[in-house]
Amino acid sequence: MRRNTIMEKTNIYDRFKPVIGLEIHVQLNTKTKAFCDCSADVFELEPNTSICPVCTGQPGALPVPSLEMFELGVRLGLALNCEINKYSRFDRKNYFYPDLPKGYQITQFFFPLAEHGYLEVNGKKIRITRIHLEEDAGKLFHAGDSITESEHSLVDMNRCGIPLAEIVTEPDIESPEQARIFMEKLRSILRYLGVSTGDMEKGAMRCDANISVVDMLTGKQSNKVEVKNMNSFKFVEKALEYEYYRIIELMEKGEEVQRETRGWNLNTKTTVSMRSKEEAHDYRYFPEPDIPPVLLSEEFIDRIKSTLVELPDERLKRFVDEYKLNSNDAWVLVEDKEVGDFYEEVAKKVNEPKEVANWFLTELFRLYGEYGKDKIHVTTETFNEIIGLIKEGTISRNMAKEIFQEAALNGASPRKIVEERGLKQVDDVGLIEEIAKRVIESNPKQVETFKAGKEGLFGFFVGQVMKELKGKGNPKTVNEVLNRLLRG
């Protein structure tokens, strides 16, 4: 509605150009927390059960950085085409909040781990300004709606000290949709690398965005607004879209766009002001004196480089070249590493990459969507048999879909199902001819019309024959026979 009051979406981007930059926090999949030996696997754990003097900020406790965090961070940096800073240092970001036990967060402000990278989204390079390591804060549970309106709040420190990689992009993103695609692509990369689950819904990946709008007609650019609380890919797009139109509306009215931080509200599907930039914190960054600078050796970085797996983009290119898939189809197969691996396995076994891709994109994904991935039991052999059965002419393509579904849901062999249900395709020329003749005899009017030139009726005869054969007739044979009888 909002967009209609202004103008059609197709040309609105030409007039009002969104300028979007993202700040993404990614929980790294390390065994231990960033600066102590507590387990970092705390999802759904009892509150305050994976804690120690270090991560709860006891007096006198000191942080000791984990090497694993650097390994994963460097892997991510290399995958996002960054330069790795060999001199890596930690700094303190000082602020008070009950979920931050030390009163400061250990982060990398002055010397980030990685810089100057990019991620390509639909052919456009989105530049990565920096990637730095830092620690996560705890979780608060308020008795009321918020900390200011609660009689009390409780804090769970399990999450304190879990290593995060913060990824900051340049404001290169040109639409809310592109922002979403960027995030999806990033998640795919994270999973390929094994550095994070990238689950936004579980908070393993969090996204803040900056958006401003340039009026191309006047050349005026609005102030920048920060948007938070977008905890799914869909909401990244929705919140930015909402914000985009809100800003345009203000610009059209000639009103000032406030520099502020706004939060996406799930219930109202709007963004709400959280604080203005004038209230911004001074975090008093300074070098963390408890951790000496970390010097990463050339060998360390090379070793990680040598263990880098094939990334989604490279794989996409290979799928297009090797398997002759179009790039849209290929991306759907590539995005999830597990799916991509499975596809390749099947494609190699069956040796019909395009046919296999079709089965994945239509039938397999439909079943995943309808029943959930864990309910579907297919192996390379399932595809091998199904495609074989069609090729041999034993079953029709339509029948094959039905059998595939049954096989997938029960983890059964398609060939066995065909045998057990007597679904073998009828390929007996004699039988088909007999039925075809009967059909022709009982439909003299249609025959006359057909012969008068209404070629389209051919399908009618095929349908009638198939109906008699209960759908099990080999379409090729049916066609041949009818062709001979009607045209020959």
Binding site: G57, Q58, P59, G60, A61, L62, F96, F286, I291
Partner: protein
């Protein structure tokens, strides 16, 4: 071999070495009993202890400054904000002491969070100097120094950020050693200024300091700032020393240094020369910047290190209407004036608008001072100064913070540069002990202790 029975006066004079001999040949419970007895008598006046452990393990009685965690004992840092906080773990040094048969008989008094030079800024009362109870014991490790000087314990641990081990040792006439930064783990020491803090011994003899160093030093996987160096700190103890080249900064005779101290300094130079050592008077002008540099870097780190005392997790929480009010009330009531002053200074010096002008510049000057000291060490083995420009002053007599801060002028450089430095007693001015500070290059700790031990033996005439 030591006899089995020991009286109170004998106990007061006991050194670590003799105490361990005693422990081998008799029931160690005796040592702990004597220590507790002396504490009972002396501490009513001295107030060297914040808490006393009535039932320690059997071992050599030692006092631990109350900013170092001993599991299941209170760690107060002499602050109201931590009153009642029971440490959930042992500091690394405490773990090592326990394993080496030391008995922790109590936690010693200090200036709140170790910020001060007189132990007057303790929330639990001032510690008095055993040599004159009208006077301060120095600080911030005043409790540890007074406890050792009075014979309440055989040795004690202190922490030194700008002179907090050496200055009270000088005031109380005992030995205080600040090791090279990185030799002793800080894990479990409540941080004051992390890049300057170092735990060290306060003892009756230099040898005892070396013995204690062998126990507490070493790389600790819980403290990334510790270094991996195997040093036998006693290797030069009792040995003849070769002739040394000693640098005495002419700043040791600047105005602000009491005449009596200047005279003792001259006497010390003659003493060294009489032993065949070579003494040069050198100009280390950079010393004059050390106090200003220190009072930017230390408060900056303080403002961050003390953020964790927020009333949320432990310690004092003042109930108030709202989160911000709770923070303000808890910290406002929990911290004393001096701590609040330094938090304010540090919050200012770290603020984005002033970071370059203060913190960043102070870091540069800090490097400059380090470089200058290194330069002196290229041609000299040690740098010698008075530990303090004055002797112990009367309780309550110094109220101007700037006068107070200037007392640290000779001790601060060793912290800024991470160097080892020791204060050894060198006679008295009137009835008050004087300390001489000897500073060496980083990680020359064993040689420094050996040299100090050698001087001490000559002074005692054996």
């Amino acid at each position: 071999m030591e006899k089995e029975v020991i009286n109170k006066e004998e106990f007061k004079k006991l050194t670590l070495r003799r105490a361990f001999d005693f422990l081998e040949n008799s029931n160690g419970q005796k040592l702990v009993e004597k220590s507790l007895e002396v504490i009972e008598n002396e501490d009513k006046i001295l107030n060297a202890f914040i808490s006393v452990n009535k039932n320690p393990e059997i071992g050599v009685p030692i006092g631990i400054k109350d900013n170092i965690n001993v599991m299941d004992m209170e760690t107060t840092c002499a602050s109201k904000i931590l009153k009642g906080y029971i440490a959930p773990y042992d500091a690394t040094v405490v773990k090592k002491l326990k394993a080496a048969k030391f008995a922790i008989v109590g936690k010693t008094n200090l200036d709140e969070f170790a910020m001060g030079a007189s132990t007057e800024y303790s929330a639990f009362g001032v510690t008095r100097n055993p040599h004159d109870t009208d006077r301060v014991a120095g600080g911030s490790s005043g409790g540890s120094a007074a406890a050792v000087a009075s014979g309440e314990v055989i040795a004690a641990l202190g922490s030194d950020t700008g002179g907090s081990i050496r200055q009270p040792a000088a005031f109380c006439g005992v030995v205080g050693f600040k090791p090279s930064y990185g030799l002793v783990s800080r894990y479990g020491l409540v941080a004051f200024a992390s890049s300057l803090d170092q735990i060290g011994p306060i003892t009756k003899t230099v040898e005892d300091s070396a013995i204690l160093m062998n126990v507490i030093a070493g790389r600790d996987e819980n403290d990334s700032t510790t270094v991996d160096r195997k040093i036998d700190f006693t290797q030069f103890i009792g040995k003849d020393m070769p002739k040394m080249k000693i640098a005495v900064p002419k700043q040791s005779f600047n105005e602000g240094v009491e005449d009596g101290i200047k005279e003792k300094m001259q006497e010390f130079i003659r003493f060294c020369e009489s032993l065949g050592h070579n003494v040069d008077i050198v100009d280390i002008d950079e010393i004059k910047y050390s106090v200003a540099t220190y009072y930017i870097i230390a408060p900056s780190e303080v403002s961050s290190n003390l953020s964790r005392f927020d009333g949320v997790k432990y310690g004092l929480r003042v109930s108030a209407d709202g989160l911000r009010q709770m923070y303000e009330e808890s910290r406002g009531i929990g911290f004393g004036d001096e701590v609040r002053r330094r938090i304010l200074i540090g919050t200012f010096t770290l603020s984005a608008a002033y970071y370059d002008a203060y913190f960043e510049k102070a870091q540069k000057v800090r490097r400059k001072i380090s470089m200058k000291l290194s330069e002196v060490f290229e041609t000299h083995d040690f740098i010698v100064t008075p530990t303090s420009p004055i002797t112990a002053f009367k309780v309550g007599s110094v109220s101007d913070p700037l006068v107070y801060y200037m007392m640290d002028i000779f001790t601060i450089p060793a912290n800024l540069a991470g160097l080892p430095a020791i204060s050894i007693p060198f006679g008295k001015v009137e009835h008050l002990p004087v300390g001489i500070q000897i500073m060496g290059p980083r990680f020359s700790d064993a040689k420094l202790l050996g040299f100090a031990d050698n001087l001490e033996r000559h002074l005692k005439g054996n």
